[in-house]
Assembly symmetry: C2
């Protein structure tokens, strides 16, 4: 017999199909079950489109009466781009609803559940909640912290250098590790790097598969003056390049870049005259970007860590010892007591390299 867990897992799987297209909305999946059979299912396919519950109800039609719904997020109670879902679930006669996680959106926040319960629908929450929260960590971050979820990727030697003394960093890690990074890109709404990294490596910043969703390529740049031949300015995905600059753009340059399809946003500078990182994340959130994969450089990484703006760190450690080179982060802690604390979550081998994942938990800090 199929268990509640298995039906919800199916709903989570459906939800994940919307990745990249629903932001800033969450990914949601729903499965309608009656007599141990799926009578309808669906997921939120893209921002502005119908919600998962409605997709499933449409498919089930009149069979939805007395059915059980498995939905990864609390059905909404408010009018958004589409009518609220909870009344439609009630109207269809669904008798039981299993929900993974409540909606952190202050407009919903258990109102959907109350609405269902008041109509006599039995509601059970928390089924595979961890998985659901992990899937929508970007959406949750945006709701709770008003900024995207931030994953920081660093590739370093065993002794903590990201480049040799000449600044050369291609390649510290192995081809399998670099392929893994490309697959990680597809799990985020945007890939962020500093202009220095772009000028040094001329990266494409693209995911491995390019047949569907292409994440935003977000460049933090003190200036818009950069070689016109850069990949991010010339390839097929220029309309997915966003430059955040603190320079007042020179109109002709601005026109040149926007004509190429780029989005240019002006951000205030911080006290050192560089693009203000907290402001960047705020603006990215306003742009509907729920998750960012930051690939450096060191100064941006250091700021993210120091300012507590980083949620997960992915540390690729190559089996190499340099003895000297460019350090991973720009300096911040004066002593050990000021060190930023992580929690190692996962370790795996990728080719000859190691990938260590850590979470930065604000409750770990002093």
């Amino acid at each position: 017999m199929t268990t509640h867990f298995q039906w919800m897992r199916r709903a989570l799987h459906l939800a994940s199909k919307g990745r990249g297209f629903t932001s800033p909305n969450p990914m949601v999946g729903a499965v309608l079950v009656k007599n141990h059979h799926i009578i309808g299912e669906g997921y939120h396919e893209k921002f502005g489109g119908p919600h998962a519950e409605v997709m499933a109800l449409r498919q089930a039609g009149v069979k939805a009466k007395d059915a059980t719904m498995y939905v990864t997020l609390e059905p909404c109670s408010h009018q958004g781009k589409t009518p609220p879902c909870a009344p439609q679930v009630i109207k269809a006669g669904v008798s039981r609803v299993y929900i993974s996680m409540t909606d952190p959106n202050p407009l919903v926040n258990q109102n959907g559940i109350r609405m269902l319960e008041n109509a006599g629908v039995k509601v059970y929450t928390g089924l595979l909640e961890k998985e659901a929260r992990d899937l929508n960590r970007g959406f949750i971050s945006l709701m709770e912290k008003k900024r995207p979820w931030l994953t920081l990727k660093m590739a370093q030697t065993a002794d903590g250098y990201i480049a040799d003394l000449s600044g050369k960093s291609q390649w510290i890690t192995s081809p399998p590790a670099r392929e893994f990074v490309m697959s990680q890109r597809a799990l985020h709404d945007g890939i962020m790097v500093g202009l220095g990294t772009v000028l040094k490596d001329n990266p494409g910043l693209l995911p491995a598969k390019r047949d569907a969703y292409i994440p935003w390529r977000i460049i933090l740049a003190g200036t818009l003056m950069m070689p016109d031949s850069l990949k991010i300015l010339t390839d097929d995905y220029t309309q997915r390049t966003m430059i955040l600059t603190c320079e007042n753009p020179e109109p002709e340059r601005l026109k040149f870049l926007t004509d190429r399809g780029l989005k240019i946003l002006t951000i205030p500078a911080d006290s050192t005259g560089k693009v203000s990182i907290p402001k960047v994340l705020e603006v990215l959130g306003e742009q509907g970007i729920t998750s960012v994969y930051c690939e450096g450089g060191g100064q941006i990484a250091g700021t993210l860590i120091r300012e507590g703006l980083c949620d997960e760190i992915q540390l690729f450690v190559a089996p190499k010892v340099l003895g000297q080179g460019l350090p991973v982060f720009g300096g911040f802690a004066k002593n050990l007591d000021q060190a930023v604390r992580l929690k190692w979550e996962d370790i795996q081998r990728i080719g000859p390299d190691l990938l260590v994942r850590g979470r930065l938990d604000s409750c770990l800090q002093d």
Copy 2:
């Protein structure tokens, strides 16, 4: 039915009981089996004492005739502190001998096997050879490289610092990691640190269990002038403290230290006026020390890596980010191509920290 592997595993287990007491001899274990029963077994208990084969033969007595011997190292063919073993195995009438590894000692080097075979004993080699070589990696290193096996332990933050800018390093890693280090000490003949580390941390450099073997505490010191109150000069194990200095010892100071039980050796200085590390390892080998656990500091670690004198690296990585601090190693590689290459062997979690083990394989280098 007990398999050949299981009998050899028993022999390896017996061999390991001699750890710390046999150096510079290898650890060896032997099991004599007849009709699926052990009729004799033994191990090399201490340097100068009887060999494992002889122990097993003595226990078996006349029953040894037509028995099978499992022995972790090729029986010796030469007169050492004790008479050669191979003739005694033959004389006892043992019909088959399983051997894990051949003896790298040039005085033996398959002569023992030839002696057995010429007498009509059936000889099988290579059973659990990897395990046997690992057990006696110190002995093998001394035979093949004329220096002890060197394990380098480093404790660092996620971004590769061994101390904060003030030099404070207590404690980067957690109590479980530090306990693990103490257990590792017991697996080596000696624990090596620089005087700087001793002056900074005043460590005891002792293993967790002190009821049996206490490894040598080896201090590399430019000078013998150090506080008389240091643990290594005052605790119950001063006769297990060895100071290697490049200073011509002042006679009164020398007498003071040797009166306390310490061993003082004078080593040539290198071009920078410090104790020459290659010479140190040569001298330690002459002292019968087959394996060394080096716990820093950074300059010694850097020299060991740069000079290819390190066999295994144990990298403890704490879930902390400092952003700045003292780097792990003294600098050496000018660029990425000159990086020293490792091979990650093993990863494990120890408390909140990670332990990453890497091997430095000379064949990995350019």
